[in-house]
Amino acid sequence: MLENILLTIATAATPLLLAAIGELVVERSGVLNLGVEGIMIMGAVTGFAVSLSTGNPWLGLIAATIAGALFSQLFAFLVITIATNQVATGLSLTLLGIGLSGMIGESFVGQPGVKLPTLDIPILSDLPVVGKLLFAQDPLFYLSIVLVFAVMWFLFRTRTGLTLRSIGDNHTSAHALGISVHKYRYFAVMFGGACGGMAGAHLTLVYTSQWIENMSAGRGWIALALVVFASWRPLRVLLGAYLFGAITIVQLHIQATNLRDLESLPAPLYWLAEIVKSIPSQFLSSLPYLATILVLVIISSNRRLTLINTPASLGRPFVPDR
C-alpha cells in the first residue's frame, strides 16, 4: 500500500510542479501571472477534448500545451504591452478561463476520456522499490522532473537566463542596456502558459480521465504559493510540489480507507485510525488549502529572506521611458 501511496503522490505532485516551474520563470522575469488557474483549466479541457475527438492522448497533450501558451498571451498582451495592473489582469484570466472551459467542456461532462500511457523505462523499471516509483510513470512525470533541471540550467548557467533574471531584478536598468524587456517577458509568460497547459492536461489525461467543470480546484493557486514557498528556486519547487502532493494523497487515502480493513492493526494504531477517521471528510479535504496558508506564513514571516529573494520588479508594470 505504501508503494501505491508514493506512486499517487507523484501523480498529485506533477501538475503542481509543472504549473509552478512555469510560473517561476514568469516571476523571475518580473511578471506576476495570477492566471495560472485559468490557464490550467483551459489546458485540461483542451487536452480532454482533443484526445477524445482524435482518440490520441498525445495530440491532446500537445494541444493543451499550445492552448496554455496561446491563452497566456492574452494576459501577456495586457500586462506587457498595455501595462495593465497585473493582479487584476491575472484574476480576469482565471475568471475567463473558468468560463471558457466550462462552455467548451459542457458536452464532455460524464464522457470517458483517454489516458496517457505510462512509460516504463526498460530494466530500470524492474528495480526493486524505486523501479516502479521512478521509472514506470506517466510521461509528464519525467517531463516535469527534466523541466526543473532544465530551468535551473537555463536560469543560472546561460546568458539568456541571466538576462531574464536581470529583467526581474530591474527592468529599467535592463532597458537602458538595450535588453528587450518586453520580448523576454512575452516569452517567459508563454513558457509559463505552456507549462500551465501541460499541468492542466495532466488532470484530464493522467490524474483522472474525465472532464469535470472547475476540476483544477485551486491547484493553479497552490502552484503560485509554491513559487513563493520555493523562494523562486527550481529545486525547492520540486520539494514543495511533492510535499503538497503528499498532503493531498494522504488525506485522500484516509478518506478512502475503510476502518474494517484495519482491524488487523495493533490496538494503539487502530485507535489512532479511529480518531483520524472520525474527522469529517470536508475537514480533510481542506488540508491542502490550510497547508498552503501555513506554508505562506512560515516563508513570508522572514522578511529579510523574502526581500533578498523576491525579484525586485515583480508585479510592477514597465513602460519604457519616452
Partner: protein
Amino acid sequence: MRGEPAGDIPVQHSGNMAETGLDGAGKTGGGSATPMLEVRDIVKTFGPLTANDHVSLAIGEGEIHALLGENGAGKSTLVKMLYGSLQPDSGDIVWRGEKVSITSPSQARRIGIGMVFQHFSLFESLSVADNILLSLEPDLAKGNIAEKARQLSEDYGLPLNPHSIIGDLSVGERQRVEIVRCLLQNPDLIILDEPTSVLTPQEADNLFVTLERLKSEGKSILYISHRLEEVKRLCDRATILRHGKVVGECDPRQETAASLASLMVGSSVDEIRKEAADTSGKEALLTLNGIDLPASSPFAVALSGITLDVRAGEVIGVAGVAGNGQSEFFRVVSGEETLRDANAILIRGQPAANLGINQRRRMGAAFVPEERLGHGAVPEMPLTGNLLLSRHSSDRAAFVGLGPIGLVRTDIIRDASARVSEEMDVRKSGADPDAGSLSGGNLQKFIMGRELDRQPSVIVVNQPTWGVDAGAAARIRQALIDLARSGSAVLVISQDLDEIFEISDSIVVMHDGYMSARVPISEATYEKIGLLMGGANPGHEMPEMPDTAHHGGVA
C-alpha cells in the same frame, strides 16, 4: 565665446557654429581632421515638447567635451539618442565621417560608444561579474569575465571584487562597476552622465585622473554635468544647451563660472542673500541625543550615536555621499520610524523620538523628503490632496470638520493651496492639476511652500533642490535661509556640496551611519568636508572609527 547669453539662436547659425567649432577642435586638439562624432541638426519632440531643437555638436578624437545645461535642457534626450535608446525625429549622427543610425544600445556599443549612467543601470541582486557580462556583446563575453574585470579595474586604479553583490556596494564602488563595464567594451567614445554627483571631492579627483588617462589613450569623452568648476578644470570644449537648443560653444578654460552659468540659465539667477547667523544664547529647537538605529534590511545602513543641536535661527547642512545613512536619518528624525527612547529626539525641548510624524508636526516640526513623487507627494492626486497629505493632522481644526466623521473641507484646502502656489510662484496648468503633471522645480516649490505656509519652528529637508532648475533652486534656498532668520531651526540634508556651502551656518557630515561634529561655515573648506565624506575622522567624538575600507574612495 560664440554663444549669446539670451535669446534664441537661429538654426542655421547653430549649425555653422558646430562646423567652425569642429575646425577649432581640429586645430587645438591637433588630431585628425574628421571628428570622432558629429551631431547635425538633431530634432526630437515628445508631444508638445521639443526636447532637442536642431542640436549640433562635434567631438574630436582625444577630446573631453562637456555638455552643459540645466535640468530639462535636453541633455539626457541627446545622450539617449547617441546611445540608441531613442531615435531622433530628424537630423544626422555622423560617426568617424560616416552617417549612422543608432537603433539600439547594443549597436551603439558595437560601433564604439560606451555609456556610464547617472542613475546606475546595475542589478542589485546580481554579482559584479554578472552585471558586466550583461552589458557585453556576446562575442566579447567569452572567457573569464571576472578575471578580465579584475585586471582592467586594477590597471585603471579602480579596484573591484568581481564576485561581490551590487546591493552590498557603496555608491562610489557602483560607479566603478559602471566605468569598468564600459571600458571592457573598449569604446572610442565614453559618455558620462553627471558622474560626480554621487562622489566625494576626493573620489571625483580620482575619477578625473582616470578620465585624463583615457584621453591620453586617444579616447573621446562626452562629459555631462551642471557643475561648472569641474567642467572648467577637465574639459577641452563645451556645448551649452538651454530649452533644447544649443546656445553656445566654447573653451570652458577661457570662461568664468559666472559666464557659463548665465549661458546655461539664460538669465541671471538671484544671488542668495545670507547674513551671518547669530545663534549665541538661542535655544536648541531640535536636539538629537545619540540616535541609534539597527539596519532594517540587508541593504540599509545602521545609524550610530547621532548627536546634534539645531538652534533657532540657524541652517545646518548635512553633507555626505548618497547611501551613508541619510534616508534612514530622515526617517528617524521625521518620525516615519519611531524609537523606543523618547529622549533621543527633542523638539522644542520635548521628548519626541517615540512619537509619530503627525505628533511631531503638531509640536511645530515640518519635513520635506527627498523623493517628490511617491513620497513627498502622490503623483496621481491633485495639489489640494497633496496639501492635505502632510497637514491633515497639524491643521485638522481648519481642514477637517464634523468631528469623528472627519469631513474634508475642500474649499478651505483649495484656498490654502492657491495661497501656497502664489507665495512660491508655482507654475501649473489649471487650478488644481495632478502633482505628477508639474515639473520637478514647480512641484518642489509647492512641497516646500506647503510646509513653509505653516511657519514651522523646525524644518528638516532632504535634498531640497535635487533635479530642480536653477531659478527654483535659488528660490527654495532663499526661503530656507529666510525661515531660519525668522527664528526657526533648519536642517538640510544634501549631496550637493555647493548647496551646503551656500546656505549652511554649520556643516555636519554623515558617513556610514555616523555623523561628524559640526564644522562652522567659517572654518569649512571643500577639502575638509570632502575628507569627512570619505570617512576620515579628524577630531570628533565618535565611539569608534567607522569601517572606512568599505566605502573608501581614495585608491
